[in-house]
Homo-oligomer: 243 residues x 2
């Protein structure tokens, strides 16, 4: 049995806020066998990963791309500054590989749920470090996953995925284990952290300030060590079939 509980609404998070404190203040019990899933926006806000569009001077490349794709050149400038590589530009979508290795729209730069109209929210600089810090600061020391919603190559709609992980096996490797008939299973590596991230999107409302979700019943995936974080989920550039 798995149980997913959205923590009661957090206040608007501001740069410098103690996110672990705000989470504790909700009064929700968190133990070492729980996974706490947190939408990255509150992490980014607490870490001050915010840009005011009015402070941005777009360069030549951003102006050209913005004109070609009907976007604000200042927004495009910030996207390019967060991107290691522009993977595809098409129909207003700038699909980028971020410096972390994530492939997503606009390099994770987003305007919705920002505190001010001209504010952009960036991804945390090191989401694994953010997850580890949050885990260490919470008395119950739950495993922590930080998430963002990413589009997919061949399917419509976004799914929440893991961008930072502490204390959890991101992948579950079934290769070499026997199936129900005792035969070796092939190519079964499950992206557990992404499935948990997706699951945690279900109990919360996008607009209702419920960025944090407690997941119970996943002890077998939790580790005492913080572990390698999200890295196992990120496909190496040389393994990418769609470069």
């Amino acid at each position: 049995m798995i149980e997913l509980l959205a923590l009661p609404g957090l206040p608007e998070v501001r740069p410098g806020d103690d996110l672990a404190r705000l989470i504790q203040d909700t009064g929700t019990e968190l133990t070492a066998t729980d996974v706490l899933v947190v939408a990255h926006k509150v992490v980014s806000k607490a870490e001050g990963r915010l840009v005011d569009l009015n402070d941005v001077v777009p360069g030549e490349r951003a102006r050209r791309l913005a004109a070609d794709h009907g976007k604000d050149p200042r927004h495009t400038e910030v996207v390019l500054s967060e991107a290691a590589q522009l993977v595809r530009a098409d129909g207003g979508r700038l699909i980028c590989r971020t410096r972390h290795g994530f492939v997503c729209a606009n390099a994770g730069v987003d305007q919705s749920n920002a505190a001010a109209p001209d504010q952009l929210i960036l991804l945390p600089v090191d989401p694994d470090a953010s997850a580890r810090a949050l885990r260490a600061a919470l008395p119950g020391r739950p495993a922590v996953i930080i998430t963002d919603s990413f589009g997919r190559a061949w399917r419509n709609g976004q799914c929440e995925v893991a961008i930072g992980v502490a204390g959890l096996h991101a992948l579950e490797d079934w290769r070499g284990r026997p199936d129900a008939q005792g035969r070796e299973m092939h190519a079964s590596i499950i992206a557990i952290a992404d499935e948990i991230a997706a699951a945690a999107d279900l109990p919360r409302g996008k607009t209702s300030r419920e960025p944090a979700v407690r997941v119970r019943g996943l002890h077998r995936h939790i580790t005492d060590e913080d572990g390698p974080g999200v890295a196992p989920l990120v496909r190496r550039l040389e393994d990418d079939l769609f470069r």
Copy 2:
């Protein structure tokens, strides 16, 4: 609060078996506000979507592809017969677009958890119809999602996704709705059916014959009509950035 419960193990499903009957026999309460998530393999088995490798005569294209990619030419023949298009072939992976429009490895043809060593399991011919039939046959009439595990373009590991849907909005469209600050949200279309499919993978063991999972707490996504099924999740070929 969302609650995910794996139904106690089903017996090995055989062609012609009444899957709704087997699910009822587990004694698990299912109501019209529940979502029942079923891994497609038991659906495919009940529907007789099985091929014995010994009955397959590989054609020229299958023999060539199999030789190039180190695969069994009979397996490759079955994959090609299930594929509308071979999207990429690389390092032993044949990534195909199925006749349903799904992009996945081996056109969904899989050997693990088959009942016999030389047996291949195919996707259901019409997974939406399978979902509708199951919904109609279950006394509580829960919404039904049929799933398979697909790889992703830029991330390691597979996630369970929806391949058939009855009685549930597969996408939740937040475009035009205000965010927490009252501003219109952009590009927020959530693949709810895929997030539910991923969530339902968490309570079950891959080898423990728990193909069916009951999800409680999702009433706001459930519809009385069976609706358009999985179609909203399938990106149209002309919108595919990675053809």
